[in-house]
Symmetry: C2
DNA sequence: ACAGACGCTGAACGTGCGTATAGCCTCTTA
DNA sequence: TAAGAGGCTATACGCACGTTCAGCGTCTGT
């Protein structure tokens, strides 16, 4: 019964969890061995299973820790919702991540793993964020900050997916445009162009447009 | 010296490669064993290494096969470039994938893995597609089909990344909107809304907009 | 001071992996 | 028909993995 000590994260147990989080994010669960995690945390392999029961238990603990970190973005997003509804800037998941996590944090990469491995935790996270995006867009539509969507479900998915794509393809985007998009400078440059497309559009309407 | 027989893909070697492609796409290279690939192909494990030298050799062969399949999309995109420049519909990577690969093809999932693992092949593919997107947008800008971008490099990355996101988050999007976006029906519904945003925009311009 | 618990280590165990090897069966070629 | 090559299998080997276990030091409560 140690329900008090797990908040104070200065212990070896926390070191193991942090090392595992970083290694899992970098290389994936299967490609990381318990011995590597132990070495990175400066402890023996036996201590890992002593604290977490098994490698799978460690994975669950890391998942829970990351999920808590990501859910803390919800509260922040709740108050961002009001400012976003003014419509004067683009409040995105990527911007939230940049503001919430310091440079070099393994959490964006861990988020990427969650989505790309079809992890149930990732699916649940996507579902919550999708519902949030949908509600946000509905609210903004009522206020008149965004146009009425032809297909609200798809548009909410489109917006969310575009934000997440910046996290998922961070490295490739950085190589393409020369700036890491998950840095303050990078996200600013990204947001400027995205806002332009989202407000003014990009394609010129063709003269032969079908009314349908 | 068997440089003739490797085109005719009815052999056990091709079966092994196809089984490996499917399993690699579904679960990742490391999570799949040579014994599983052999069982899926209906051969013995020894035959895998006999034909491909090692598991890494098999991986390279599968990579080359997939790269060839994806590069074949280039030619198709070359002739799509002309139709896309008319501006009457949204020619995207996702639409190309839907048209090029039958339902249940492992190639979209394999593409997802390529990007997930920071594979050099994935980085190269992204680079080529980015250059293509950039050129396409430049051409369309000259013709007047799209507005002049404030930041052309970022806008090209934004467009490409949005398309790829549909591939990367296919399952999550399917769960959210109720339709697999990589089916003809799904991509049609997706394209309609995306085209609407790309042409008319989504956000209403706020009265207090900073010029700067 | 003593006893129990806890954090932690180092060595060991069993398993499943990728790979090597020896040999079988079936074609082809002369 | 004899001989050789190549597709293919069965078995086994060595290794690295996750996990177990006996035991060490230290800290805490009585």
């Amino acid at each position: 019964m140690c329900s008090v000590a797990d908040d104070r994260d200065l212990t070896a147990k926390a070191n193991i969890r942090n090392a595992a989080l970083r290694l899992f994010a970098e290389r994936g669960h299967d490609a990381v061995t318990v011995r590597e995690i132990a070495a990175a945390a400066g402890v023996s392999p036996g201590l890992v299973v002593h604290h977490f029961g098994s490698k799978e238990g460690l994975r669950a603990a890391v998942d829970a820790y990351a999920a808590q970190a990501f859910d803390s973005l919800f509260a922040m997003d709740g108050q961002d919702l009001a400012s976003a509804m003014t419509g004067d800037n683009w409040g995105s998941v990527a911007e939230m991540l940049v503001r919430a996590f310091p440079h070099g944090s393994p959490l964006p990469a861990y988020l990427r793993r969650l989505f790309l491995v079809n992890d149930p935790a990732g699916a649940a996270l996507f579902g919550r964020w999708y519902a949030l995006t949908r509600r946000l867009l509905d609210s903004m539509t009522e206020v008149g900050a965004v146009r009425q969507a032809e297909d609200p479900a798809v548009r909410a998915a489109f917006f969310l997916v575009n934000d997440l794509a910046l996290v998922l393809l961070r490295n490739q985007v950085a190589a393409a445009i020369g700036v890491d998009p998950l840095t303050p400078e990078g996200v600013a440059r990204w947001a400027q162009e995205v806002t332009a497309v989202y407000t003014k559009g990009a394609f010129v309407i063709a003269p032969s447009e079908e009314p349908s």
